[in-house]
Symmetry: C2
Amino acid sequence: MTRVEIPEDSLFGLANLSYGVFSAPGASPRAGVRVADSVVDLTVVDPVFATSSLNPFMAQGHARWVEVRERILDLVAGEIPDAAVHPVDSVTMHMPFEVADYVDFYASEHHASNLGRLFRPDSEPLMPNWKHLPVGYHGRAGTVVPSGTGIVRPTGQRKGEDVPTFGESRRLDIEAEVGFVVGTPSPLGSAVGVDDFDERVFGVVLVNDWSARDIQAWEYVPLGPFLGKSFATSISPWVVPLLALEAARVATPPQDPEPLPYLREKNPWGLDLSMEIAWNGQVVSRPPYREMYWSPAQMLAHMTVNGASSRTGDLFASGTVSGPDKDQRGAFIELTWGGKEPVAVNGEPRTFLEDGDEVTISATAPGPSGTRIGFGEVTGRILPAR
Amino acid sequence: MTRVEIPEDSLFGLANLSYGVFSAPGASPRAGVRVADSVVDLTVVDPVFATSSLNPFMAQGHARWVEVRERILDLVAGEIPDAAVHPVDSVTMHMPFEVADYVDFYASEHHASNLGRLFRPDSEPLMPNWKHLPVGYHGRAGTVVPSGTGIVRPTGQRKGEDVPTFGESRRLDIEAEVGFVVGTPSPLGSAVGVDDFDERVFGVVLVNDWSARDIQAWEYVPLGPFLGKSFATSISPWVVPLLALEAARVATPPQDPEPLPYLREKNPWGLDLSMEIAWNGQVVSRPPYREMYWSPAQMLAHMTVNGASSRTGDLFASGTVSGPDKDQRGAFIELTWGGKEPVAVNGEPRTFLEDGDEVTISATAPGPSGTRIGFGEVTGRILPAR
């Protein structure tokens, strides 16, 4: 039997207990919990974890999430069978869940305003609908990939003068986002109430919504982004349970006009996540999630108000997290103002992504009693176009 | 043993052999083939059909589709075990496949021009990108439902004067479309060539992309349609194999400007489907699929040109099929010109859908030797808002 030592300042202490899917050398993928620098095999807790996806467990619902979290806490605070403990560096992390539908919102007022100015310089930056509803759209679930997956530079039709040009994207960008994973499904023809968020949503991941701006700019009117986004969306391997984020809850910024009743939260689900974006190892931005105008509870309520069902494994992301300051912007098109104001990365002036570049997004949030909860990171390196 | 009698004018003769998933009373769902007015249980042909989804068979690839089609032809042309034959009226039809990603295109020039005039009366009806690429977007895979599912009228934020109004949609509409189902997956980072369409796509279904125009009009700028579409998309229960549609192939209309090389087909995949839309039993429109500007092979090539993977069960739909004439329009917003020109349905002037209305879309296509191939129908009735 083994005891996992947890340093006092660990981001993966007993208040966190994030879930992932891992494989040890020679073993099949299964679910595990992150404790300090170890992964603990959860098949010793419950047979539902003996699969390559968290979906079966997430589908069991909120009461089970609470109960199993207690059992995991008991396990990892005590003696654990040796064979169930692996150094995190010795295992391979996989997609933690099967993505059902993927929706991407646009919930940062700073990001939406910046993008409006860049994409539509002759119009009001925010559309008339923006403060009435969380604007969102469906993305490609099949190209959500785990952190570490190489990102092949996409090819396609790019915005030109009168006619498009064709070739590899020259304006390849990131979007630093936070994603929410549905556990308990909701049936067709019913809406999820804005205060039922924590009954439905199992946990949180970090998202990099890679974006080819030249492809997007040409294609997106009138039906929205498509190939400029669909080549890859990366997520972090550890799903932080919503149950670990009580101390991170904050009010959203003031919402004016007052939202319609179905979007009014009794206890807001703003979240005080501190995010960092590292470009080839250098931190270039620190987006504050607490600045997001719409909360994830409002996103889920809106997404289902028309009676759309939701499924276990649905992933909905916040949209780019950008704060009011320049060094808080979550996309390089904003950070470099359309490529016109390069930023220094390891001494070089940089705008969009070059082949070989690596981007890593990480985050932490307040935990109980002054501790911090880690989200790990989502990382990816740009590979040359094929 | 039984022999299935096939009337000479049957739309489900030996040249068709469409696949579906059915359950006989008291039996579990499994795959079957439609022959005249019977369903033949395909578990007598191959164990891959002993599941509630065509995905495992579709994933086996083109050579297997050809081989199994020959074996099915041998079976149904001869004597069949009694227990494997069911009258089609005695069985329940289910979703024929599990939808991976759902993409909706916008490939009819007539429809796109009409909608442009209706939604953006002050601009050019066609966007500058429209003749350069098949415009499309991702829809909600989780709300694709089988024909016959009741459609609950959606509720949401509707376009108002300055601020939105909230309530049930008053401009509920249909979109008559044709959907294409991917069988053989393609990996991340590679593109499907425009001439590889028939290696990849297994078959064809009819699609009704129900649309709430008042919700859509308020939400869709700048990220595209979302809740105005995501409450339900209905598909027909029979997947017509692409192998049955050789005689239906036609050239697409002339494409000017010439498409970029990745969109140039050697042998075009235009399709001569004749569609019918019945509103409460009365045929109100006959959209001609052969008028579609972009072919489904061009759609798949475009959808993957950026390196996006495709999966078994991906469904991509054509967008509304509308011809040049008024009685060939595939959506009621076009047919009634935004509700200003009602059509007579059983003697009543009608614009958008009322509770209790039923819409049925059906289609046929040329088969070999003067026969016709049936697609069956996709039908749905409007239920009151909850």
